[in-house]
Point group: none
DNA sequence: AACGTTGAAATAGTTC
DNA sequence: GAACTATTTCAACGTT
């Protein structure tokens, strides 16, 4: 049966390939740690915002919206309305439906 | 790995209370398992929906909307617009037609 | 294939597809309600436990641990193979392969 | 029913609070961008590893495990105390006390 | 009763 | 395009 390739160089268990692997893994781990640090920073800023009385949940939405392509937004919105209409509910925005 | 004892099966301090604890824990575990089963069922229905060509992401949104108090929705929407306006962005999202 | 459509049979909002969507949505909503009921039951059991003087926080930890343990064991086993393979050795079955 | 607060200091959308909000949002966005850059770097390293013939899926597993391990150790320690407390004994400090 | 913490649900992204 | 993983979001809980 065909063996799945695990490490590049063949019979050299723990040899050259091992060194290389170790190096790669360590690089990744370092980058990931930096990434985590950034995430912590972001969290802090949110905390600060909250301390100033802002609603962080809404802030997150705003930031997500800004990141997003306006066209996609519109399309999704349209689709949502379509589904709501198919369910007999009026479009969610612009006030409640008259029914019920 | 060595197993850890959950309760001192035979320790004096654990006696009666230990039995009771065990019973409570098991009841909870049973309920949680049922809960997980239900979650799996829900997942299945979504898969079926997808198979019929529906957009499950939108479906989730619809269901979330239906679950939610209309008043809260409106308030949140208003706040979102407020924030967007404070940032100098038009109220891009919020259900109005794309062309304003 | 390759149509980007909104509902399977399109243009028929509130029609056939609408019925189907409605049915799916309602099924999901029903399942979700059962799920919520179960969650409430679990909460009750915790309340009862608390009433008997147990520390629910610890109980949660214990339950979480019991749930995690089997997984961990599997992962550990998988990992063992992983490392072996990473070292250029075949899966542990039967020890070293003849291929050496 | 409590009123929902929109922006902290005043209703002056686009005013003082608006400046503050904008500043916070931009800081977050900048940090997020750095974070994304890091994620891209990580991805690159994986690509490089793959180019050298390594199985990145396994690499991810290994890295995840190395990250989880220290946590597990802490949890294990915490759990020890947990069990002791569940037995009605105080935290393990000093072993069994005479206070029983 | 707000706060932070934590675990689960959902979403996005990636690989095959 | 389907599955898996990683990230993000949301809700519950205890805490102060």
């Amino acid at each position: 049966m065909a063996e799945k390739k695990t490490v590049p160089s063949d019979g050299d268990a723990g040899g050259i390939a091992g060194k290389q692997l170790k190096s790669l893994v360590e690089r990744i781990e370092r980058l990931e740690e930096e990434k985590r640090a950034l995430a912590a920073d972001i969290k802090e800023v949110y905390a600060e915002a909250k301390g100033h009385g802002f609603d962080t949940k809404i802030m997150r939405k705003v930031i997500a919206l800004r990141r997003r392509d306006p066209q996609d937004r519109d399309e999704e919105e349209a689709l949502l309305e379509t589904y709501l209409r198919a369910l007999g509910m009026g479009p969610a925005v612009g006030g409640r439906t008259a029914a019920e």
